[in-house]
Symmetry: C2
Amino acid sequence: MPIVSQRIVIAGIGLIGGSFALALRRAGFDGQITGVGRDEKALRRAVERGICNDYSRSIAEVAGDADLVMHAVPMGAMDDLLAQLAGSVAEHTVITDAGSVKQSFIDAAGRHFTNLQHIVPAHPIAGTEHSGVEAGFDSLFDNRRVIVTPLATSSAAAVTEVAELWRATGASVEQMAPRRHDDVFAAISHLPHVAAFSLVETLHRIDQEEEVLRFAAGGFSDFTRIASSDPVMWRDICLHNRSAVLDVLGQYRACLDELHQAIDNADSASIEQMFSRAKSARDAYLQAASDSIQESK
Amino acid sequence: MPIVSQRIVIAGIGLIGGSFALALRRAGFDGQITGVGRDEKALRRAVERGICNDYSRSIAEVAGDADLVMHAVPMGAMDDLLAQLAGSVAEHTVITDAGSVKQSFIDAAGRHFTNLQHIVPAHPIAGTEHSGVEAGFDSLFDNRRVIVTPLATSSAAAVTEVAELWRATGASVEQMAPRRHDDVFAAISHLPHVAAFSLVETLHRIDQEEEVLRFAAGGFSDFTRIASSDPVMWRDICLHNRSAVLDVLGQYRACLDELHQAIDNADSASIEQMFSRAKSARDAYLQAASDSIQESK
């Protein structure tokens, strides 16, 4: 399907919003892109970089004739922005986002909009450790996945438009129910981050009492890489996906409790069973991932 | 200092024992190396690979005229091996090991030997995911650290000999008290492995209920790499360093409990503080590690 939108407003011209715009330009999109942000200097820079044609510091000022509004802002800023948007956007405008948690975006939309036909949340599974207007680049989404999570009320045309835009950026698109998305990502993404932040915090606390970190070997940097992620973004994810994160974190704590008990009891068989299952599960996952890369070649 | 030993017995000719021998040969060691193991085919292969000059399936048979005996066997096999050795080894023979936990080796030695002057435990911080007689290679220890943990009773000559052998393999050697070693490695190595095994086990359990693992992104393979480690070796580490592992695991569980509480209370400030501290601690560690690499260049 061709892209229908001619006037796109992108709120947030950092890594995700900037890369979205640059990837659309790479794909030949020749409509109007208007950047919205708080920092005028960054917005001017976004125009220089070819991310947008023009800009505004107020979404209300520019949303009126947009065909599509993309929210690529921190989740903590979403509610305010939707409130401003609600008073200014046209009836037909498609509204989407790129946040890591979907139900909270839908809840916020529900607070500010009565017509939810054109709301189509999405989550690109892509990122780097950089942020800001200089961070965006046109190939960020190449061969990455974007999960589109339509509402029951989303119009088919709006869902198609959001999916086509993401396909144009180089991503492959799949659909999922919003709550299912939030449960899946609580497990495979939010829990590992929470576990890694807590692990490094624990080692840091121990290190205050007796120096240990200087003995850390090369592996430390691998398994704690995700603990160098943006603390504010991850705080927001924990708060916006609270019940799902608490649920999987509870399951992790239960698993650690079991293991603690098994070690305390010198229960050799249980310890080995758990470690073997984990090793097999990881090895099987990697095998499946490598098979699917082979198939797609 | 020159290496004094002329006849070395290596019990276990897998990754660590094999690499130790090959690295000594690379350094010009021209004495006798005798391999000890259970699998005759592997022992013959070790001779072919130049790991040892000859071999035996019984340590008692060959220990009598050894200058040094290196135990490079799984920790679960250590106690038996020391028992066999105690009846056959000469008074002057230096006895060392390469295990990941030091106090339990010392305790086992104490059960079987009355003279502990020549017991010098050590722990090379090196490894790969491979094991067995084909896994050893002569540069495994290049620029890696070996922690030597002498007993109060260890003779200076024996400590020097073990340190010099490890230096000859390409490693840098530092000394640490055995219990301090076990506490440090419980924190920086054993806890991360336990956390990673448990994380993958938790995701595996969730995956049995509802498919989640297929949505895991690239990061999953990084932060769970250590969960593909040998389950039996890690079971043994948990059992042999039980109290130190339980201690740090308890601290990790307490940290996760705090975070669970903070998320449950939507305590935004506490969550952000913990994540920020963790990120800073990791970034500072990596900076220090990279500075020390620069200095050593």
